[in-house]
């Protein structure tokens, strides 16, 4: 039901002529569109090709979002041309159409998908049964495995995800979201026998994923390749701990009599290096077993050692310091040296012993020799907020802490800032004219 919402639209299309070469440029077209809600970008391209420029090149096949041929970048976002409506873009906005990223451009909007399918092949995107059976081997639709795979099997290999992935930009050997998604569906399939060779190929590149989710946002089939890649990474972590030995493909298929067709395929596979001869396979299986056992023991060993270490430290912290260290009396100087009625700063030097560790400490303390009763107060310079060193400011008549603005008066009471309690005082005693300060 056309509501007559239409008008003239400006369309910019990227053009590249293989005969001319160069970098390519944008061509501008104007198109009168009757009903924007009913017109897809593919319709626009077909009309432009028919009415205005018959040299425009683009791919399409089914026109109904099923084949994945018409993948391109429309206004900065990847998508299928047959699935994107003109009305998706706000009125009077110029529509910019350009080919997919990361594939060589053949002409205009047509890209060479060869590299895309090559990276597909690299992840062994085919199914090899573990055993030849006569009945179909069923995976129930409500099984964990099938639900984990979910919609990932719906991939139409349109290339939008690889085009939108910024990691494909920077890593030449990155397999790409779609091939890894395909590998994921097969790795999760418990009937498949190529888990190990496929995993090996996939692990070479699956760590290039940086969890950006561009692929998930642009997929016309709403598949999340990021989820698939994260699944693969988690499978890889669990790999060394599997108790069951690696499935030995050659032993199982060699012992079963095979029809002639399969034999030919096996020859191809043997020559391509996917499946090795029985003797070597047996040997590598033993190695795999040894490697698995070693890795498992190593991990549990390190885990146990660290648990013991941390547990031991925590336990000793709970028990607490059982022996009391004798307090250290540090000389601060002769009493005459401290002027009456003033605050003096003294740097105490002493050696602190903690278990096996000895340390030379230089610690400033503040001594206030009161004028009236000839009493002494020794303050610890550590601010009671977070431990910064306080200093005495004569003009303001306050102890000031530079870190967060704490201030104490001459009696150590908090006058300003964040400190929660008054300045700490240290115990002292007089010994024939010498002032001795107790340091813990």
């Amino acid at each position: 039901m056309s509501t007559g919402q239409g008008g003239k639209r400006r369309i910019e299309i990227y053009r590249y002529d293989p005969v001319e070469g160069g970098d390519g440029h944008f061509d501008h077209f104007d198109l009168q569109i009757e009903d924007e809600t009913n017109t897809t970008i593919l319709d626009v391209l077909l009309r432009l090709q028919k009415e205005q420029d018959s040299s425009l090149a683009f791919r399409y096949a089914c026109r109904v979002n099923m084949c994945g041929s018409c993948g391109m970048v429309i206004n900065g976002r990847e998508g299928l041309a047959c699935k994107t409506n003109v009305s998706d873009f706000s009125k009077n906005l110029t529509i910019t159409i350009r080919p997919l990223n990361h594939f060589p451009v053949v002409k205009d909007l047509v890209v060479d998908m060869g590299p895309f399918f090559k990276s597909f092949e690299n992840t062994l995107p085919f199914f090899e049964p573990k055993e030849i059976k006569e009945e179909p081997e069923i995976i129930r639709p409500d099984s964990r495995e099938r639900q984990a795979i979910g919609l990932a099997t719906e991939c139409i290999a349109c290339g939008c995800c690889v085009s939108s992935c910024t990691m494909a930009n920077y890593h030449e050997d990155y397999a790409g979201p779609a091939p890894l998604n395909r590998a994921f569906t097969l790795l999760m399939d418990s009937r498949d026998s190529l888990f190990d060779p496929r995993m090996e190929k996939v692990l070479e590149s699956c760590y290039n994923c940086r969890t950006e989710f561009n692929c998930t946002e642009v997929c016309p089939k709403d598949i999340s390749c990021t989820r698939a890649i994260k699944y693969i990474q988690r499978l890889a972590v669990k790999e060394p701990f599997k108790a069951v030995p690696a499935t030995n493909t050659v032993v199982s298929t060699a012992s079963v009599p095979q029809p002639a067709v399969d034999h030919i395929h096996e020859q191809e596979r043997v020559s391509s290096g996917i499946i090795t001869s029985p003797a070597v396979a047996k040997a590598t299986e033993q190695e795999d077993m040894g490697r698995r056992k070693f890795l498992t023991k190593l991990t549990f060993g390190i885990g146990a050692a660290s648990t013991l270490a941390v547990g031991g430290v925590l336990a000793s912290a709970f028990i607490g310091p059982t022996d009391k260290k004798p307090s250290l009396w540090v000389p601060a100087g002769k009493l005459e040296n401290f002027p009456v009625g003033k605050i003096s700063t003294v740097n105490l030097r002493y050696e602190e012993k903690t278990a096996f560790y000895r340390q030379q400490i230089v610690k400033p303390i503040l001594i206030w020799r009161q004028p009236n009763e000839n009493k002494i107060v020794v303050y610890n310079t550590a601010c009671t907020h977070l431990g910064c060193t306080v200093h005495w400011d004569e003009t303001q008549h306050l102890f000031l802490c530079a870190c967060h603005g704490g201030a104490f008066d001459i009696e150590g009471i908090v006058k300003a800032g964040p400190p929660p309690r008054p300045l700490d005082q240290l115990a002292f005693r007089m010994d024939s004219g010498n002032l001795l300060i107790e340091m813990a």
């Binding site: 970098d23 390519g24 900065g76 950006e212 989710f213 998930t216 999340s224 990021t226 990474q233």
Partner: protein, 113 residues
């Protein structure tokens, strides 16, 4: 005709090349990825300054801000990596965790100052 052989393909277009609307239409997941990297560099730089300049409240604030950003976006990546949260919530996680992080940061700032 050898003119139109495969050797005359144009080299692949890169992300953002010849693409006037790309940066305007970036998905929020990609912003999160970029801010994670930017805040990482900011932390390294601010940390170096933080160690040398003792009392500059604006510096501490910027450092705390960078750490909060990096931590919340990093937590999001961890949650998604280990499938603790379904990937369909990845966009919600960006806003949710960043909001939570800013609230915690405000609390920390108030309690120190």
């Amino acid at each position: 005709m050898e003119e139109n052989s495969t050797t005359n393909y144009r080299k692949p277009l890169q992300w953002g090349e010849f693409d006037p609307n790309r940066r305007k239409n970036m998905f929020v997941g990609m912003w999160a990825w970029m801010w994670q990297r930017i805040s990482a560099i900011a932390i390294v730089f601010l940390l170096a300054l933080h160690v040398t300049l003792t009392y500059k409240p604006w510096l501490q604030f910027l450092l705390l801000l960078a750490v909060t950003f990096h931590a919340t976006l990093g937590l999001r990546v961890i949650l998604l990596d280990f499938n603790l949260v379904n990937v369909k919530y990845q966009r919600a996680l960006i806003w949710g965790l960043t909001g939570l992080g800013l609230v915690v940061m405000a609390l920390i700032w108030r309690s120190i100052y």
